[in-house]
């Protein structure tokens, strides 16, 4: 067994040593991670996301064309927290790429330094729906987490390309300071609307709500991953009326029928709000994601008179 392993190590070391220190080839699972990687990596990498921003990241198909992309990757950046559990592991196995396997030098779980909300405590069962035992994986919708993700990415890139380390750290510093400024602006814009109550379709916005002081009082889904039921929809409507809630946020990949029915019944505005870069055409980077979402939200709050 040991000699077999040694042989494997030897064989693996061969191509790695011979490889030229060219641009890093980065594959990310979702577009937000690609956007941040692009900010940090600048012109020293090529980056591609497997899922599109208008796609439900829980239900991406493990297409063989993704295997081709992953086979050539130096780095694979995943959201983690079991978001991609239904599709990423078989792709990793079939990628024939030792670098990007779990625990490989080229694998990065972007959630490790991020602030994670809704980590369940006590007994967890599937009666709670498709619950994520390691916490809510939609953590990138908070600029503070954006900075933490960027730092993890910069550190990973520096580790793999020590010669470019200074460049990556400089890019990181630039991204962080630009994001700091933008965050101040966003916080100012949102300040008058602190405490605004709303309902969202899936639990995709807890970090966004916490950062900008919004109050999510319920969900269109009765439980994560379980489609709306008539009784639950009725309960949501009644609760919205009781608390005078005038906003329903829907991710671009969910059906609008139930949210619109709720909107008609309660007089609430139904907003299709992208939780990801690429969720709508004009959101092409991490900054535009917040610009778009905040403008959309403020417009709707003003229109509906919600508070």
């Amino acid at each position: 067994m040991r000699s077999l392993k040694l042989l494997l190590v030897f064989l693996l070391a061969l191509p790695a040593g011979a490889r030229a220190q060219g641009k890093l080839t980065v594959v990310t699972t979702i577009e937000d991670l690609a956007a941040i990687a692009r900010e940090v990596g600048g012109d020293r990498l090529t980056v591609e996301s497997l899922a599109r921003g208008y796609q439900d990241p829980h239900f991406v198909e493990a297409k063989p064309s993704f295997i081709l992309k992953m086979q050539r990757a130096d780095v694979l950046i995943a959201v983690g927290r079991e978001l991609e559990i239904g599709w990423l592991p078989p792709l990793q196995t079939q990628s024939r790429n030792g670098k990007i396997q779990l625990g490989g030098a080229g694998y990065l779980d972007a959630s490790l330094n991020a602030s994670i909300l809704e980590i369940p405590t006590g007994q967890i069962t599937r009666a709670m729906g498709d619950v994520h035992p390691l916490g809510n994986p939609h953590y990138w919708l908070d600029p503070e987490n954006g900075k933490r993700i960027a730092k993890s990415i910069a550190d990973k890139f520096s580790e793999l390309r020590p010669k470019d380390s200074a460049y990556f750290q400089q890019q990181l510093a630039s991204f962080t300071s630009r994001l700091d400024m933008a965050e101040q602006r966003w916080l100012q814009m949102m300040a008058p609307y602190k405490g605004t109550k709303m309902v969202t379709y899936h639990r995709s916005f807890p970090n966004f709500a916490e950062r900008f002081g919004l109050d999510i009082i319920g969900y269109v889904e009765p439980r994560p991953g379980i489609p709306p039921t008539p009784q639950h929809t009725l309960d949501v409507m009644n609760e919205m009326k009781r608390q005078n809630v005038k906003l329903v946020l829907v991710e671009p990949y969910f059906d609008l029928k139930t949210p619109q029915a709720i909107g008609r019944e309660t007089g609430a505005e139904v907003l299709v709000m992208p939780p990801s870069v690429g969720g709508v055409k004009e959101v092409t980077d991490y900054f535009k994601l917040f610009d778009y979402d905040i403008n959309l939200l403020i417009g709707a709050i003003k229109k509906s008179g919600a508070k």
Partner: protein, 432 residues
């Protein structure tokens, strides 16, 4: 962390000592209050610290169940039982061995059990199924072995007993782009042969695979598999070569001596047409010794079977509505060349099927079957099925299938088959 606690305790001690003595009498009440506050703060601090430590440990090691704050950790000692003390024996608390290895549980494989319950109504005199049966319970154990490999075990508990459906090692990072599997596995012959029962879009397996490709279990044998990607631009092209012991199915392959290995070759081409549509084409070949020439455990005939297969899968799934609508069209054709006493039987069979998802939890489907029997090319059976599937959640499924079969040598069968499937444990990968 310990130094922080010590510092905190020192600070508290210093504060208490430093209180002026002369003012002590009148400030006694105040000091006591202060101490209470400090104690309370210290307690809160320690609680938060231990919560954070537990969370950190859980994050770093993926260890479950951090001790909730305010609750003592599980005791690692027990008292000597009453009456057992004395006579030079141990006294007081005894250490409990085993608690220290609780962390080893993080290396337990991902486990899941999938139940497949089948029912049948209607009339079938040729190939009757029981009215109700717990057709199969599949236990899956999957984990990463070491930096170079992962292992997958699927044990199926059926009405006839327990069997290892698959159990193999996958070497994930061999140089040269080889994906190598060693163990017992479903062979890469066509599409359906590789699929476990619970991911089939029907309650049964198509006629052609039952008649020509090894029955219910298919080509499922111990051996090696090597798959390599062939560079072809954006086209995914994969060639697979497999060697097996040569025992598959009731009457497909049987090895009488060590040299009677069976072989499987598969070439798969996959291309994205648009972001929502893709096409998957495959050709397969298999060869092995069949049991037709075995008389009283002696292989007199030394007969072989050759299988040729072609498969086509067309998938459509609009990305922004992927959870609501999809379509999968599939077809497989198999040609069998089976040597037996009385000459070679050249037979052929195929199926064509389509499944359309019309709502988040609902699917309709249909399938047409036609296949000759491997042992007798003159017997050609035909059949058709209509299906309706409902998914209460990702982890359970209810399916009904109306199936009509026209047997060449018996009365036609009209049956209503129904199925309940349910899965517990680790979240498995979605089939593609």
């Amino acid at each position: 962390m310990r130094t922080i606690r010590l510092a905190c305790a020192a600070l508290i001690a210093a504060t208490l000592v430093a209180a002026p003595r002369d003012a002590a009498a009148q400030a006694a009440g105040q000091a006591q209050q202060l101490q209470q506050q400090i104690d309370q703060l210290r307690q809160e601090f320690n609680q938060r610290l231990s919560t954070l430590e537990a969370q950190l440990a859980a994050l770093q090691g993926g260890q479950p169940a951090p001790t909730p704050p305010g609750q003592a950790p599980a005791p690692t000692t027990v008292e000597v039982p009453p009456g057992a003390a004395g006579a030079g024996g141990p006294t007081g608390p005894l250490p409990v061995y085993g608690a220290a290895v609780a962390g080893a549980k993080v290396f337990n494989p991902d486990m899941a059990v999938i139940g497949d319950f089948l029912g049948a109504a209607g009339r079938n005199t040729v190939d009757p199924q029981p009215a109700l049966e717990m057709h199969e319970s599949e236990a899956a154990f999957q984990a990463i072995v070491d930096p170079y490999a992962r292992a997958d075990f699927f044990i199926s508990f059926g009405e006839e007993g327990v069997g290892l459906e698959e159990g193999f090692l996958t070497l994930t990072s061999l140089p040269g782009g080889f994906l190598t599997k060693v163990g017992k596995m479903r062979a890469a012959f066509g599409k359906v042969n590789t699929l476990h029962n619970h991911v089939l879009p029907w309650t049964d397996r198509p006629m052609v695979t039952r008649y020509l490709v090894g029955g219910e279990d298919g080509i499922d044998d111990a051996g090696f598999s090597v798959a390599r990607l062939i560079p072809a631009g954006t086209l995914f092209l994969e060639a697979t070569g497999e060697v097996y012991r040569g025992d598959s199915g009731e009457s497909l392959f049987r090895s009488s001596k060590r040299g009677d290995l069976s072989y499987v070759g598969h070439l798969r081409a996959y291309q994205d047409i648009t972001e929502s549509t893709n096409i998957d084409l495959g050709t397969s070949y298999s060869y092995g010794h069949n049991p037709a020439g075995v008389v009283k455990d002696v292989d007199l005939g030394r007969f072989t079977t050759q299988l040729f297969g072609a498969d086509l899968t067309l998938r459509w799934k609009p990305l922004s509505r992927a959870i609501y609508h999809s379509f999968v069209g599939r077809s497989e054709a198999v040609w069998s060349r089976r040597q037996q006493f009385g000459g070679r039987q050249d037979t052929m069979g195929y199926y064509v099927s389509g499944d359309y998802q019309f709502a988040r939890r609902w699917f309709v489907g249909g399938r047409y079957d036609r296949s000759a029997h491997a042992e007798d090319a003159s017997l050609v059976d035909k059949g058709g099925s209509a299906l309706l599937t409902y998914w209460p959640s990702e982890f359970s499924q209810v399916r009904g299938q109306y199936r009509r079969t026209n047997y060449a040598d018996g009365p036609a069968a009209n049956e209503l088959l129904f199925q309940f499937q349910f899965s517990i444990g680790a979240h498995g990968a979605h089939p593609f």
